[in-house]
């Protein structure tokens, strides 16, 4: 036993028929099938508990609309010519998209870490790009499904116009991808639910609530208005709302630029963490 390194290797024993079919099984292994399967599994995971992952956030958003819309409808005019309830709807839709996209990737990872089932993802030959793509795409799908659910119910209260559906789609998808990526990073970083809850409650939740979901930043005092411009969530909400009303606090191209830049940076971090096996492979 003086070989230079450990090997599970070719020996002198002949291989039988099954071994040849084994080689066949490996040879027909497809990277596309691997990716598709992980994506399907991630989507089925949230679909199987859809009361918790879809119905509950839709109900929460509708309650926000009922309470805030009823109380503030007569007192607030956030955008010229737009009722407060109509103004609120795109913000609530986008807030639901973002929060649920984050929740999907982060909860999937932390659960599988704590349950030990992450090993079933780490043993197969996934590349870090495949892992990233599957987790984030599933997050985008969940975010958009919840967002659509919120929209389909709230739209009956005050139907907003669809000034530019492409902006709606671009901000919806890109915003969900950004939060799905942030959820992935949080899930990789966190070792227990408590840490993930801290990430969610002390970063994602305040940033979402203080992004102009319930108000226009134009109505804020100058200091808070300036602070809002450092919050990337503000650009997501503002750009998404522009798609409905063709009115926004800042130029939608600026919002799209900020969102794209934030996505590229976070995606780069997430892919780097996955490629290094940070907190996943010792």
């Amino acid at each position: 036993m003086t070989l230079p390194h450990g090997r599970l290797n070719e020996g002198s024993l002949p291989l039988g028929g099954t071994a040849r079919s084994v080689k066949g099984a490996s040879a027909r292994a497809s990277a596309a099938v691997s990716f598709r399967t992980l994506l399907m599994k991630e989507m089925l995971r949230f679909w199987k508990v859809s009361f918790q992952t879809i119905a509950a956030p839709v109900l929460t958003a509708v309650l926000y609309l009922l309470v805030f819309g009823h109380v503030l409808e007569e007192h607030v005019q956030a955008l010229p010519g737009v009722s407060y309830t109509a103004f609120l709807i795109p913000g609530l839709v986008m807030m639901s998209v973002l929060q649920n996209a984050f929740a999907n990737s982060s909860s999937s990872l932390i659960q599988s870490k704590i349950m030990g089932s992450l090993i079933f993802i780490l043993l197969p030959p996934f590349s870090h790009w495949q892992l990233y793509g599957a987790y984030v795409t599933a997050s985008v799908v969940r975010g958009l499904v919840v967002g659509l659910g919120v929209f389909l119910i709230t739209v009956w209260f005050a139907p907003p116009p669809f000034a530019s559906p492409l902006w709606i789609l671009a901000f919806g998808v890109l915003g969900a991808a950004l939060l799905g990526t942030l959820g992935l990073i949080a899930g990789i970083w966190a070792d227990k639910f408590d840490q993930l809850a801290a990430f969610q409650n002390f970063i994602v939740m305040p940033a979402t609530f203080l992004s102009g979901v319930f108000y226009s930043v134009q109505g804020l005092p100058p200091f808070w208005k300036t602070v809002s411009h450092f919050n990337p969530f503000f650009y997501m909400i503002d750009g998404f709302r522009y798609g409905f009303f063709a009115q926004s606090d800042v130029n939608p191209w600026l919002s799209l630029g900020v969102l794209t830049l934030a996505f590229i940076v976070t995606a780069g971090i997430a892919v780097n963490l996955l490629s290094r096996g940070f907190k996943l492979r010792n």
Partner: protein
């Protein structure tokens, strides 16, 4: 290869080659480094120095081909609570890039006695059944190399027999099997070659037959009342549950020992004579290693 966790040396210059088609055992006490070694082979842990290749594929540089060649049954009972047994296996098959693998999945389910539970949610399974699913997950992509890390820990006799019958069949068909187990009789019955680890180092590596030959002669377990004569005690190698374990050079010595005991007035309550088994080899090698570590320590004290 070597693996360090800070100041702890988990694997110390381990250098192994496991041949294709072999049934190979990896034995050692808790903390010997068996699971660390398996984790490095599986790509779950990265070696500090050195490298591992599976079927010629480096587990880091050529991880895709290496992982396609490998199926691992982990020690911990892990499962995804959202899915049924069949869904779990279909997903695992898909992760390895295989679609339309239903026929093989059915065969694995049947061979592991899981057919009747195929549509049961993983949460509803007993520990033994979950263990079977873990084995099925490792086999679902027909890997040429199968690593089983304590696969029969805490499971019933029926599963052991079912599992070993299936694994033996896979081995006969050309699959390489690497097994860690605390049940040394299983290793003795199944493995063609065995490596023994202690404190991260390989302290023995040989065929099972050669390892058993390491302890020559006859082993005699004797339960007696009275004062055992020193000539008999000179053969003592161990004491288990109040019985003396003696090693004798040849079968003829058995009669002589019994005669000496009777001459000394001892009453013999129980007697067992047999060849040394793998457990004896294991204990002796561990004891020898401990002794060899103790002597230099004493010399430098």
């Amino acid at each position: 290869m070597t693996k360090r966790y800070g100041s702890i040396l988990a694997l110390d210059r381990v250098d192994l080659q496991i041949n294709r088609g072999e049934f190979f055992g990896l034995l050692g006490p808790n903390g010997a480094g068996k699971t660390t070694l398996i984790s490095i082979i599986a790509g779950l842990v990265r070696a500090t120095t050195g490298r591992v290749s599976i079927m010629g594929h480096d587990v880091v540089a050529d991880y895709r081909a290496a992982r396609l060649s490998l199926g691992v049954v982990p020690q911990e009972l892990a499962f995804d609570p959202f899915f049924t047994v069949r869904e779990t296996l279909e997903f695992q098959s898909g992760y390895f890039g295989l679609s339309n693998n239903g026929a093989w999945i059915d065969e694995v389910l049947a061979n592991l006695g899981l057919i009747s539970r195929a549509d049961t949610n993983m949460r509803a399974l007993s520990g033994g059944m979950k263990r079977r699913v873990l084995v099925a997950q490792a086999l679902v992509h027909k890997p040429p190399v199968i690593v089983l890390d304590e696969p029969t820990a805490g499971v019933d006799v029926e599963l052991r027999q079912t599992l070993w019958a299936f694994i033996r069949r896979l081995n006969r068909e050309g699959h390489t099997i690497v097994l860690t187990t605390h049940y040394l009789e299983e290793a003795q019955a199944l493995c063609q070659r065995i490596a023994m680890l202690r404190a991260g180092a390989v302290i023995a590596l040989d065929t099972t037959r050669a390892l058993l030959a390491h302890i020559a002669g006859v082993q005699m377990t004797l339960r007696v009342r009275g004062t055992v004569p020193p000539s008999v005690l000179a053969h003592r190698i161990d004491e288990r549950d109040g019985a003396l374990v003696l090693r004798l050079a040849q079968p003829e010595d058995v009669g002589r020992v019994l005669a000496e005991c009777q001459a000394a007035g001892c009453q013999i309550d129980d007697l067992e004579v047999g060849r040394a088994d793998l457990e004896d080899v294991f204990l002796q090698l561990m004891a020898e290693r401990l002794e060899s570590e103790r002597i230099p320590a004493l010399a430098t004290a």
